[in-house]
């Protein structure tokens, strides 16, 4: 892909040739020119969609009514354009391009690749299942998937065997719907569990199960493609326009970033101990405890915790006092603190050096970057703690055994933010947190709201949704920030602020 400023449009009929089906395997990369703006917008919007896919995938039963409704809404949002009458072509183009951009961002590490493949697969599965049966067959043909349909005579002769091997197959279904013949190597999940009829090396897959096979194919192709993309990434990253964007995308979440401090000075230092037990997410509670016990934190911990404190409203003076009083209790005397550590606190507040006002770390950032080593207390306990230790900690914090187990299950499934959300629900004694956790400061704000509100959880959700739909009033300040960010190409968090 090349990126001059102008956009080149494709003419009529070639549009149809390029995207002849609403779904695709993303085999060919896009070959057109695209503006930087569109590049960024497409990427961010697809990311939002994939994050929704992830959240829904764990909070709802897949294919339940709730899941379908919500995912449908999100997909429509993705394809919806402010200009009326977005054409089918435009939709497919956006699908195509946004996927490939995210490949660039998500090919770099095993974790990122796995996440991306999982969400893209879930999205694909949903959209494929949603297709009319004729379009499913269309898709298979157009993608040269060598899945032959079984002839009517063969179907008849094998009817009993087919019914006895495949789940949910009846005589009428066999007659009316296609059955596909697929080499058994392409249907391993069904072979392994003996849920399919095998003959002469072929698996006989009924129509309603063909999606499993297609998905395997999808996963294999995407996995290979990501590995290849990772190899060519250095060339892409050397483009200065793209590098900060891509690296931010892979750590991005979409939502508030708590860079603009509200409630400055509303928290007093004496309250912090109590707050750490009540309203801090586990990572920050952990860091606070370590700081109190050791009178010290290493750099990673200072950054993660210090920025969090800034986000909840500590002023620079308060922060300096907080850190100094704690460090002085340890091995650091007041002079040394002023010389060595005070600078870095001021740096965090943007009062030194580049004067960049650092934003508090989001959950993604905490989970994915800078894993803790021996002697560190930062990171995400759900991601970085040994499950046994995590279990003990939760028990110490009086989380019920059944609650602890639920949390551990989520951790096993690598749903760290959901585990933290569950921790929120258990410690605040609510059934539903009412928000989708992706930032430690969000945890704090929501907790404070809950504890001091007596608020109606449902109302909060409606309010936050409404504010997302009315970007006009809120985007003005962020647009000012975004111009700044563009000029500086420094901190991009505010550019992605979306409210």
């Amino acid at each position: 892909m090349q990126f001059p400023g102008r956009r080149k449009k494709l003419i009529g009929s070639s549009q149809n040739d390029l995207y002849d089906h609403c779904l695709q395997f993303y085999g060919q990369p896009p070959l057109e020119n695209i503006s930087l703006t569109e590049f960024e917008t497409f990427a961010v919007e697809r990311l939002k969609l994939l994050k929704t896919v992830e959240n829904l995938g764990v909070s709802c039963v897949k294919n339940s009514e709730q899941y379908t409704k919500k995912l449908d809404a999100e997909i429509s949002k993705f394809f919806f354009n402010k200009e009326d009458g977005i054409s089918e072509y435009e939709k497919r183009r956006k699908d195509h391009i946004s996927h490939f951009i995210l490949r660039l961002a998500y090919c770099q590490t095993e974790d990122l690749r796995r996440w991306f493949i999982q969400q893209e697969m879930d999205l694909f599965r949903y959209r494929f299942n949603d297709l009319h049966s004729k379009h499913k067959t269309d898709f298979l043909h157009k993608n040269n998937l060598k899945y032959e349909t079984v002839s009517a005579e063969e179907k008849k002769s094998l009817q009993d065997k087919l019914i006895a091997s495949s789940y949910g197959l009846s005589g009428t279904k066999v007659e009316e719907h296609d059955v596909y013949k697929v080499p058994f190597q392409d249907a391993l999940d069904l072979v392994r569990t003996r849920k399919v009829y095998l003959l002469a090396g072929n698996a006989y897959i009924p129509h309603h199960e063909i999606v499993t096979i297609v998905l395997n194919d999808f996963r294999t192709r995407l996995s290979k493609a990501l590995a290849m993309t990772a190899r060519s990434l250095p060339a892409v990253q050397s483009d200065e326009r793209l590098q900060p964007l891509l690296s931010h995308l892979s750590h991005a979440y979409v939502g508030q970033d708590y860079s603009i401090q509200k409630n400055i000075g509303k928290i007093s230092l004496e309250q912090i101990d109590a707050l750490s037990g009540k309203s801090f997410p586990l990572c920050m509670r952990h860091l606070h405890k370590a700081l109190r016990e050791n009178h010290h934190l290493r750099h990673g911990g200072r950054m993660q915790y210090g920025l969090f404190l800034k986000g909840i409203g500590l002023s620079l003076e308060q922060a300096l006092q907080f850190w100094r009083s704690e460090f002085v209790k340890g091995k650091v005397d007041a002079d040394k603190f002023d010389k060595a550590y005070a600078y870095s606190v001021r740096h965090m507040f943007g009062k030194e050096g580049k004067r960049t006002d650092y934003t508090p770390y989001s959950c993604m950032k905490v989970i994915l970057s800078n894993p803790p080593s021996q002697g560190d207390y930062h990171g995400c306990p759900f991601r970085h703690s040994d499950p046994e230790l995590l279990k003990q900690k939760l028990q110490n914090y009086k989380v019920s055994p059944s609650g602890t187990n639920q949390i551990l299950e989520l951790v096993k499934g690598m749903h760290y933010q959901l585990a933290c959300q569950k921790y929120f629900e258990l410690t605040h004694n609510v059934e539903d947190a009412g928000f989708s956790l992706n930032h430690p400061n969000q945890y704090f704000t929501e907790s404070q709201k809950l504890l001091s509100g007596g608020r109606d959880i449902k109302k909060e959700v409606d309010m936050s949704q409404r504010s997302q739909e009315n970007p006009a009033s809120v985007t003005r300040p962020s647009q000012a920030n975004s111009k700044q960010a563009h000029e500086e190409m420094g901190d991009l968090d505010s550019f992605f602020q979306d409210e």
Binding site: A164, S165, F184, Q185, V191, R194, Y197, L198, L199, G201
Partner: protein, 425 residues
């Protein structure tokens, strides 16, 4: 007698003779070269040898048949294992950049070991086998051979007696050799029905509908079950074994049978009672899918395979025609046409065939010796062929020959197909 008394202490003397004059090197090389279709297929194959005093060496590889012969005659391995075809010559694996030396292909293999049936055979245990429990191997071979051919579409299967207490299957089709780890494990799991270890009482659970594969397997088991289990193993004879059988049944059936068995002592009749009762209970139950009698048959007879042996592309398995050091028996190919009469105790030992070799030869032999003086290498081979033909090893090498012929024919057929497609006349 087919077994001269074998004494492991004689191995150091017998093995050199075996490798010089009896081991079928040219067929062996022909097998592992697979028609020379893939470059360096033989050269990149790993062999491992267990030498005298249990010294184990891996990553042995050879460039030609001649080199293989010379090395084996020199090292005189007690055991020979065959591994995978790698990306580079295994003997040079240390010179290869780390990470690039990889196992690429290998036959799909299965290892059926009699010790895995110890919980359901009463005649022997551990490494012992007898004619009574050998039926289990017959059943295993029939079930797996059918499934691998009919369900999975494989054609070139070599079944080999391991030399002591089991059988191996080498699936040599092109497609089989290229299977991934995931595919191998999927095939092995498809073929697995008996699940659970010591703590599991009921190791086979069937539910409706019964998959065609299970039905096929059941019909094989049913052919042998009465003679093998009821008569030979006498599973419904003594109280101890009856209890074991009944342990997998639900309480109500167990109780009824315990009562009826007090009066009925004939094991065959007991089995019929059991089947009738299960049938009756099934038609009464709304749930359906109660196949306890079939489950018992499968638990006592269905093949037990070690998935780990089949999974790994780089797994090393005992080579056909190697000697079993403890029994002296040669790992010979099994002729499936004569499966029901195969007797592991009739398999020749190394001492027997060496003895047969020493018997005085006929007159034609001297003429052949004259011809041999002309060309030494060919002479060596011709002599070797004449040699094993005089021993009990002959008929097993013939089985191997037929197997190789079938593969050669199939390769030829493939090439014709390909050239037809390319319109190369």
């Amino acid at each position: 007698m087919s077994t001269s008394d074998y004494d492991p202490a004689c191995l150091p003397d017998l093995l050199p003779l075996y490798y010089r004059r009896l081991f079928p090197f040219s067929q062996y090389y022909r097998w592992l070269s697979y028609g020379g279709v893939s470059k360096n297929y033989f050269q990149n194959r790993e062999f491992s040898f267990t030498l005298k005093d249990d010294i184990y060496v891996r990553y042995q590889s050879f460039t030609t048949q001649n080199e293989l012969e010379k090395e084996m005659q020199k090292m005189v391995p007690y055991k020979i294992d065959i591994g995978a075809v790698y990306s580079h010559r295994p003997s040079q694996h240390n010179a290869v950049k780390s990470g690039t030396f990889q196992a690429l292909e290998k036959e799909l293999v299965f290892d059926i070991d009699m010790t895995d049936y110890d919980d359901v055979r009463r005649c022997c245990s551990a490494a012992d086998i007898c004619s009574k429990c050998w039926t289990l191997m017959t059943i295993a071979i029939r079930i797996l051979d059918r499934a691998l051919r009919e369900d999975f579409g494989f054609h070139h299967l070599l079944w080999v007696y391991s030399g002591r207490r089991g059988v191996h299957c080498w699936v040599c089709d092109d497609a089989a050799r290229k299977l991934s780890v995931a595919a191998r494990s999927a095939v092995a799991e498809y073929l697995s029905l008996v699940k659970g270890g010591e703590e599991t009482v009921r190791k086979v659970v069937l539910s409706d509908p019964i998959h065609p594969f299970i039905n096929h397997s059941l019909s094989v088991v049913e052919r042998y079950f009465q003679q093998y289990a009821i008569v030979d193993q006498d599973i419904l004879g003594s109280k101890e074994s009856v209890d074991k059988v009944l342990a997998v049944l639900p309480e109500d059936i167990k109780k009824d049978l315990a009562v009826s068995f007090k009066d009925e002592k004939d094991p065959m009749k007991r089995w019929n009672l059991l089947c009738d009762l299960v049938l009756r209970k099934k038609s009464n139950s709304k749930k359906g899918g109660q196949y306890f009698d079939k489950e018992i048959m499968l638990q006592y007879c269905y093949p037990r395979l070690d998935v780990n042996v089949s999974k790994g592309v780089n797994h090393l398995l005992k080579s056909p025609f190697s000697v079993h050091p403890k029994t002296g028996r040669i790992s010979v190919p099994i002729d499936l046409k004569e499966l029901d009469t195969f007797d592991p105790f009739e398999v020749p030992t190394i001492s027997l065939i060496c003895e047969e070799l020493e018997k005085p030869r006929a007159e034609e032999a001297e003429e052949d010796d004259m011809k041999d003086k002309e060309n030494e290498q060919e002479a060596g081979e011709r002599r070797r062929i004449r040699d094993y033909k005089r021993t009990s090893l002959a008929k097993y090498v013939k089985v191997f020959d037929r197997f190789l012929e079938a593969m050669a024919r199939s390769r030829k057929g493939e090439m014709l197909k390909k050239s037809d497609l390319q319109k190369d006349f």
